[in-house]
Symmetry: C2
Subunit: 162 residues, 2 copies
DNA sequence: TATTGTTATACTCTATAACTATA
DNA sequence: TATAGTTATAGAGTATAACAATA
């Protein structure tokens, strides 16, 4: 009995250098999504160092690329975090020249955070790393199947969006 | 521009009482899995209070149900956490009568953690809550499609397991 | 000597609160 | 008065280290 728990780690649950999803959580979709999310978050956070980013910074740059530039308060809301958090992250990104702060002319309280060329380059590398991390976390899926997964999740999250 | 970011929260990204997945993260599967995992983890953690559990305790009981009983050190490894963490969680679970500690006769250093009847009842309620949370987080998917998602993830994570 | 469970301590991360500037 | 950005402080959560018991 006890041995079986051990075996599930040793034999079935090893993708190298990746935080693991315990095989005994296989029965619950909620548990699976929760563990998989943590595993990908933590693994990517480490791997993204190769792009001079951490996970949060990669999220911020991605959001800016897709819908930006936005204010810092909006970034905080999107990330589900507190504005003070974003200030520090943007400070760090600005220091590396990945983003720049600009005063919003229409409302001088707001700070527009805009991607720089260096930021876009780091982000491009970050996308590659993120994709590799997902592929490594789901070794049983082909690129096409990962695409199906992506589409399924998009439809699940935002049914209205076509 | 800035307005668009706001709209994405207000119009597209609201499933009530659920931590949100920013729609602007839609382009990256890694980001999507990361945000969705966090959203489900945090939401379930709150909802599970109705079963007198938190997220970690639900994970522990689930693992015990599927592959248990195991030692506390094994639980720690499976959860990817430190043994001290498990000690406290099992303390709390034992206090509520959801698990019991038994000395392993074969190796008196080990403590077997076993589910009680009350623990199984709480876990059953927890499963319902977890399923509701997933359904709420993926409003665009039918029960059948959630089953497809589950199967896809299982195959992706453990290709060897049939 | 190594491992299990446990306790106590230290640290990291995040939220809270207070402040300035602008609306 | 309310909101954006910033800073400093406090708290929660987690890991680290040290210990006793058993192997």
């Amino acid at each position: 009995m006890i041995q079986r728990v051990n075996d599930s780690i040793a034999e079935e649950n090893c993708f190298p250098a990746l935080a693991s999803v315990p095989h005994c959580a296989r029965g619950s979709l909620g548990l699976l999504l929760s563990f998989l999310g943590s595993a990908i978050t933590e693994t990517a956070d480490g791997q993204l160092a190769a792009a001079q980013l951490n996970g949060r910074e990669y999220s911020i740059l991605s959001i800016l690329e897709t819908d930006g530039p936005g204010s810092q308060a909006e970034l905080a809301r999107l990330l589900g975090k507190v504005p003070a958090m974003v200030v520090m992250a943007v400070d760090a990104l600005e220091e590396r020249g990945f983003v720049a702060r600009e005063r919003d002319p229409g409302d001088r309280r707001r700070t527009r955070v805009v991607l720089t060329a260096a930021g876009r380059a780091a982000l491009a590398r970050g996308h590659e790393i993120a994709d590799e991390t997902v592929a490594g976390a789901l070794p049983g899926l082909s690129a096409e199947e990962r695409g199906q997964l992506h589409a399924l999740l998009q439809r699940g999250l935002w049914p209205s969006a076509t």
